[in-house]
Symmetry: C2
Subunit: 244 residues, 2 copies
């Protein structure tokens, strides 16, 4: 058995965290298995209750373990991987994987753009109106992402909520308006869900998630959409490919 | 002035959050500017103290605002963008941008691999030893990332700490060992820093960050490294390019 040592430059709780992690990596602990209670960890490794708790909490924060109220702490299932590199509609991407999706339109508004949104959409000074659509994405009957998309009103002048209902926005952009999507820049940031988002996603408040901001360009250089999307990351992780 | 309304389906605190966000987006509030104290927000928008606090906290969690102990809440500076798609050494990438970097080796060990690490590195059943290097990346004299890399020992059998000190690992892999790096898969997850990591990165404990797990392949199909890297995301955001 690996021991915890005060001579090791790593903090005690971090050493214990690594021991638990290795038990999982070596399949001595498997998804769904309970982790020893703090009391047992203290006795086994000769650390304080506080140290044991910190180790567990660090692993819970990383998503390696999860807690169930009144039941204890367990090893998480590995997360499903999602490719991030393709500029594809959500509906199309998920259905290619054989996943059943739905989309709930939370709001559909034509409104005045903020300076920042106008800037992102490269809109002229005297062009002020945008379509703002807030949608909840659902995969296999479970909430997956909350998105807000802004589109210059003059680029989709007759788009209405009932025309989008149950349809893919990207498909409408291509088929109804004849736009050719060329590429998108997408930034990635970690966020902590606020109460509203966590309720929509059916997750604990303060759960961690990823915030994507996407700017999509047409083949003629115009920006067709600016999107802010919050993706759950408790069951999914997102993958990219790096090339030299 | 925009008003907050109980008729609006969005929660009150979320409406107030959007109002503050729009003030920033419309440059009525600029980076470094203080945000009105909660008391003033309550009076101006007719909401409770609790609602005002929730709005502010949601924006702090998103990194749009930051708090300074005893001074108040201010508008954050925009984050610096970092491209994520290129398989490049850290040293090389940063120096191309004209940024001054250093790397501190926190530990260098030859050790037995866990089952999971062996699996990631596609190592044979009877091949057990890996080199594990933990490094702190520093950009412009500020900690930027904490990384742990695992390399099959037999692929860099004579690599030692003093040979890596002050050098780029990727350059050593290419120039000393003649390896040709082909591509890497990298997953992205949000995490909350634990105490050890936050101390290394000189950030508040529980700050949010991104965890990257990278698996790098050689042109002959072998895996040369598996890396877990934690990147700060308070001052940086990470960008990828999406193509159809």
């Amino acid at each position: 058995m690996r021991k915890i040592s005060k001579q090791n430059p790593l903090p005690l709780y971090y050493q214990l965290k690594e021991i638990i992690q290795e038990m999982i990596e070596n399949e001595k602990l498997n998804p769904g298995d309970p982790v020893h209670p703090e009391r047992v960890l203290c006795e086994t490794y000769g650390v304080s209750r506080m140290t044991a708790r910190k180790s567990i909490m660090a692993l819970v924060n990383e998503g390696v373990l999860y807690r169930e109220q009144g039941r204890g702490t367990f090893v998480s299932k590995p997360k499903t991987k999602q490719q991030l590199m393709q500029l594809k509609g959500f509906t199309e991407e998920m259905s290619e994987k054989g996943l059943k999706t739905r989309t709930r339109i939370l709001s559909f508004q034509v409104k005045e753009a903020t300076k920042k949104i106008k800037h992102h959409l490269n809109m002229d000074e005297d062009n002020n109106m945008v379509i703002e659509v807030r949608r909840l994405r659902i995969v296999e009957d479970e909430p997956f992402a909350v998105e807000v998309v802004w589109i210059p009103r003059d680029m989709c002048f007759d788009l209405q909520e009932d025309k989008l209902e149950g349809k893919s926005l990207y498909r409408i952009l291509k088929e109804k308006y004849g736009y050719v999507l060329d590429y998108a820049n997408q930034t990635i940031e970690p966020i902590m869900l606020n109460e509203y988002e966590s309720r929509l996603l059916n997750l604990d408040p303060k759960s961690l998630a990823l915030l994507f901001r996407r700017k999509t360009y047409l083949d003629d250089g115009r920006v067709i959409e600016y999107t802010k999307a919050i993706y759950r990351s408790d069951k999914y992780k997102y993958e990219i490919l790096l090339k030299p």
